[in-house]
Structure formats: structure tokens, C-alpha cells
């Protein structure tokens, strides 16, 4: 818990929230065919930040769609280094976050990985299999490099854990929408708004719901309580099935739904 001033992504999110805007963060698996075009399309269609997945061989938090995307990207030769190199050419105006699993960080070493992110112009990192209790080596390195580390809160987290998660979170708190893995669901789980409300009650760090937010209606519903949403599987499925333009169209649709608040 440090008194570090908020980073660029968090400052931007707080300002947008203050102006009444709901935040939209689409996720795109790096290394998939067309992924850079998809990121640009999402930015142009009204995303407030974009989460770029660095694929890992064993994505235990992910359901079938993002598993398949990760496997395709890895089979296509994607590596953390190749993806971060391609990030430099993106030239988009919204902040970029990477999402990866802790072994990617551990293998490079926290300081080196943080430096690689900074060199690529990445603002933030999401590492879902890094629990609070083990987060110090990475968070210390990330804070020093001014990479914002988004912390995840699970629906099962007890009340006394949430303030500790929020205190450690930079950028936003990732309010996990359900018990389970990423993937599209027919309905928004009741736990999505319940956890977001618990978090909103104890922190003024922006609270975004992710995992299981599957379409514009669910995004609207989640943001009745939350400050924004992270949308993964529904974006990645469109990229794999229909290409980058479909991602742009979809993000525009969600944007319009969120702007109706």
C-alpha cells in the first residue's frame, strides 16, 4: 500500500467517470491474425483503454474462446517479445494494458518485464493468477516503473479482503463478474453487480466488471453499478469469426449502449 499518485490510465478513467462516461475496455488476444487492426478499430469505435492478451500455454482463467485464441496465436509464433514489438506500431491514443499469466512475468523477471512494457508504451498490467499475497515482487517493480497493476477481486472474496485489493490496485479494480472462467453467457450473473456494489462501497478507484459480460445489454446492466466493463470473449470470437471490422462494429454498439445511461 503506497501513496503513489495515480498513473495515466487511472487519471484518465477518473476524469471520464467524473464526466458521466461509462468505461469500456475490450480485450484482444495479441498475435491473432488481424489483432493490431482490431485494436485500432476498437480504439476508433470508442474504447477507453484496450487490454492486449499475451498468450500463455496454460490459460487456466480462460474458457474455450480465449483458450482457442491463445493456442492459435502461439501456433502462429507469437511470443511476449513479438507482441510487445508489434504494440509499438499500434499508434492508438487510448491507454493499453497487457493481460498475461504470472509465469510470463516470472520468467522474464519482474524488473525486466516492467521495463519491456514501458518500452512498448504499455500503461498497465493484469495478471489474474497472481494473488495478493504473492504480488509484492511484481507490484514493487511495476510501481517503480510506473506500470499500473490492475488487481482482481473474486465474488468469493470476504469483506475484509476487498479494501486490501483496492489499496493495491492501480488503474482500476477488476471486479470478476462470476465464479468461473472467461466466456460468453446468456445472462449477466447476479454476482456481477453484487460484487461491483461491494467494491464501490469501499473504494474510489474505478471499478470495472469483467468475465461473463457478453453483449451490449449486459454491459449496460453491469454499469448500472460499476464504472465500466471489460469485454473479452465476445470481442475475440468476432475477431476470429469475422475479422477486425466486426470488432469495430461491436465496440461501437457497446459504446452506444453505455452512452445511453
Amino acid at each position: 500500500m503506497t501513496a503513489q499518485a495515480p498513473g495515466a490510465m487511472e487519471v484518465g478513467f477518473r476524469a471520464k467517470r467524473a464526466s458521466g462516461r461509462k468505461l469500456l475496455v475490450p480485450y484482444v488476444t495479441g498475435g491473432l491474425t488481424g489483432w493490431q487492426l482490431a485494436v485500432r478499430a476498437a480504439a476508433a469505435a470508442g474504447a477507453d483503454a484496450i487490454e492486449i492478451g499475451i498468450p500463455f500455454s496454460d490459460p487456466v482463467m480462460d474458457g474455450p474462446i480465449i483458450q482457442q485464441a491463445s493456442q492459435r496465436a502461439l501456433e502462429g509464433g507469437a511470443t511476449p517479445v513479438s507482441i510487445l514489438r508489434e504494440v509499438r506500431d499500434l499508434d492508438v491514443s487510448v491507454p493499453l494494458a497487457v493481460m498475461t499469466y504470472y509465469n510470463t512475468v516470472h520468467h522474464a523477471g519482474p524488473e525486466r518485464f516492467a521495463a519491456q512494457l514501458v518500452a512498448a508504451g504499455i500503461a498497465a498490467a493484469i495478471v489474474p493468477d497472481l494473488p495478493l499475497e504473492e504480488a509484492a515482487p511484481w507490484c514493487t517493480a511495476a510501481d517503480a516503473a510506473r506500470v499500473e497493476t490492475v488487481m482482481l477481486a473474486a465474488p468469493t472474496a470476504p469483506d475484509d479482503r476487498l479494501p486490501r485489493i483496492a489499496a493495491r490496485a492501480r488503474g482500476f479494480v477488476y471486479s470478476v463478474g462470476l465464479l468461473g472462467v472467461t466466456g460468453e453467457r446468456a445472462r449477466l450473473a447476479a454476482s456481477a453487480t453484487a460484487l461491483a456494489a461491494r467494491l464501490k462501497a469501499i473504494t474510489d478507484v474505478p471499478v470495472l466488471v469483467g468475465v461473463g459480460v457478453s453483449n451490449e445489454a449486459q454491459a449496460y446492466e453491469a454499469t448500472r453499478v460499476a464504472d465500466g466493463v471489460v469485454m473479452g470473449a465476445s470481442v475475440v470470437r468476432r475477431l476470429m469469426e469475422a475479422g477486425p471490422e466486426a470488432v469495430g462494429d461491436y465496440v461501437a454498439q457497446v459504446r452506444a449502449a453505455l452512452d445511453a445511461h
Binding site: F56, D58, H106, V181
Partner: protein, 338 residues
């Protein structure tokens, strides 16, 4: 728990002295007969403990991963005994090569799901069991099958297998008047090995954990984090987990329990590896000389003993015979072309 181990699992397991093979190898060879436990391997020790805990926590469903199917069978057995639901995840490759155990699990009332992702072996079965568990944690306990995964599993599973080492120590002292010179076990995740080692870790006994050449996490891995633990792990230059390749489904895993990494790092235990062909020879050797058909996993331990016999001459060698080989007979019929 003690009562279940005695009256259901059949503990204590005996020690068998291999007179014929010992003479051939020039050593005194003792086998700790975990293959004689109910369900045919050491796995039942851990499973009965975890199933009792799950009941105590009010959970009515067990999920498990399995490689060789022995842990899946043990979990399905405990679920049947304790009237719990059971789902076992098994790599599609292993579903084929351990078909007998798939049928046993189904007979016991478990649902078996073939995992088609990744290498379609044990690592991917663990991934899938974890994905199930995060979605069902309110009703479900993940009955993890080795000394791996997030805390408290490596510790808890070791404690449930400690009985192997404690019994073996007392049995050796009765038989030899001393602890053995060497204690040997195969290592996949490392549960049968750590169970055996925990009886001797404070003694002078040399501890040897035998890995498969194609899945030698201690021998060829570097520290990594996967499945909630930091331990030696086979991985590429970017930290992607590599696939293991072993004839034995139960050892086909690119990681190893963290306590083994610790024992290796402080030099208390050593972790050589053996090839599939050495294992096939050892499997046949034990059958021919002692009338015991071993699991392919346990045959790794014997394969190392055979290789190391010249340097072990005259020593007392205790090996954990972690499981029986019925499940492997069909696969060996193919391998041996008979």
C-alpha cells in the same frame, strides 16, 4: 481416517523382499507394496483424507484430474463410499492408453471427461479441473492428486502420504535393524516419493526420486509458476510450459511438487531420469523374477535401481512400488508387439 486406512484401504501395506532380483542385482531390495492398497496404488491415502475434509466442509461433489487413472479411480471410489458426486478430467491421450481405468471410474459412478486442449495429457487435465472448480467452488472440492498445486495442497497431500514413509521406516528397522541405505520412488508430481521420503528425510538414507527422461522437471526444468505453485518446470525461452512425453501417463507432467524442488536445491534428494526403454525392461524384469506386475510409473524407480546396481552393491535399497500394472497391460501388449 485411521479406521478407513485400516479397514478400507488395507493398511499397513507390507514390505516384500525381492530375493531373486536382489541376488541378480547384488543388492538387498525391498519393496513397499502400495500396489496392494485398495484401488491398486498409493493414491487412496490422499483421497480418503481429502474426501473426509470435503464432507466436513459441506461439499457434496469432488472433481479430480488424472493421468494414469489411478487417482481418478481412487477419487471415484471415495466418492462412491461417501455418497458424493464425482467428475474426473483426463487427457484424451490418456483416456485411450488407460482405457481400463476409464471403465473402472465409470463403474464407480464417476463422470469422465476427455480433455482435448493442449497436450491432451495430465497438465491439461489439471487446467480443466481448476476451471471446473473455480466455477463450482461453493459445492465442490478439488481433490488434487499429487503434492503440487497451490497451498495447502503440497503440504496437505504430503501429510496424507506420510503414512507410507512412517510405516516403511518401522518395517525396515524391524527387518534390517536399521533404516535403508537408499530409498527410491518415481516422481510425477511427486506424492508417492514425498510420502516415502518423509519417513527418512531426517535419517542418513539417500533419497532418490526418479523422473521420466521426457518429463524431467527437476533434471531439465527451471523455476516457474504454474498451477498455483513455484517449482521446477519444463518451459521454453519465454516461459511457455512445454509438453512432457512419457510412456507412463502418470508421470507425463512438465512440473513437479515444490517440496521436491526444495529437496533438490538443498541437495537432500537427487532426481535422475530414466528412458522409456529402460522402463519397459524393468517392467518385464520384475514380473519375470518376482511375479509382480508393476505400474509403469513405479517401474521408473526400478529402472534406476537396475542402472545404478553396480554402485549400490551390497546396499539395502527400499523402493516404493506405488501401483500395480493391470492398467498398463493393454498398452504393453502394443509396445511389446504381443
Amino acid at each position: 481416517m485411521d479406521q478407513l486406512l485400516r479397514t478400507y484401504a488395507g493398511r499397513p501395506s507390507i514390505i516384500t523382499e525381492c530375493g531373486n532380483l536382489g541376488r541378480e542385482l547384488g543388492i538387498r531390495l525391498l519393496l513397499k507394496r502400495e500396489d496392494l492398497n485398495h484401488t491398486g496404488s498409493h493414491k487412496i491415502n490422499n483421497v480418503l483424507g481429502q474426501a473426509l475434509l470435503a464432507k466436513r466442509m459441506g461439499k457434496h461433489r469432488l472433481v479430480a484430474e488424472t493421468g494414469a487413472g489411478q487417482h481418478g479411480v481412487a477419487t471415484a471410489t471415495a466418492a462412491a463410499l461417501m455418497s458424493m458426486e464425482c467428475k474426473v478430467y483426463m487427457g484424451a491421450v490418456d483416456v485411450t492408453r488407460q482405457a481400463l481405468n476409464v471403465f473402472r471410474m465409470k463403474l464407480l459412478g464417476a463422470q469422465v471427461e476427455a480433455v482435448e486442449s493442449g497436450s491432451r495429457t495430465l497438465k491439461d487435465a489439471v487446467n480443466e479441473a481448476m476451471r471446473d472448480w473455480v466455477a463450482t467452488v461453493e459445492t465442490t472440492h478439488y481433490c488434487l492428486g499429487s503434492v503440487m498445486g497451490p497451498h495447502p495442497y503440497p503440504w496437505m497431500v504430503r501429510e496424507f502420504h506420510r503414512v507410507v514413509g512412517e510405516e516403511a521406516r518401522a518395517q525396515c528397522i524391524e527387518l534390517l535393524g536399521d533404516v535403508p541405505d537408499v530409498a527410491v520412488a518415481c516422481v510425477g508430481g511427486g506424492s508417492n516419493a514425498i510420502g516415502l521420503f518423509s519417513g527418512f528425510v531426517d535419517d542418513r538414507t539417500r533419497l532418490v526420486g526418479v523422473e521420466p527422461a521426457g518429463g524431467a522437471a527437476v533434471g531439465r526444468g527451471v523455476p516457474g509458476v504454474v498451477h498455483g505453485m513455484r517449482s521446477f518446470l519444463l518451459q521454453d525461452e519465454y516461459g511457455q510450459v512445454q509438453e512432457a512425453h512419457s510412456i507412463s501417463a502418470g508421470l507425463d507432467y512438465p512440473g513437479v511438487g515444490p517440496e521436491h524442488s526444495h529437496l533438490a536445491s538443498i541437495g537432500r534428494a537427487e532426481y535422475p531420469n530414466v528412458t522409456d526403454s529402460e522402463v519397459i525392461d524393468a517392467f518385464q524384469l520384475l514380473a519375470r523374477t518376482e511375479g509382480i506386475i508393476t505400474a509403469l510409473e513405479s517401474a521408473h524407480a526400478l529402472a534406476w535401481i537396475v542402472r545404478a546396481a553396480p554402485e549400490l552393491a551390497g546396499r539395502n535399497v527400499l523402493m516404493n512400488l506405488s501401483g500395480r500394472g493391470d492398467k498398463d497391460v493393454a498398452q504393453m501388449m502394443d509396445v511389446l508387439g504381443k
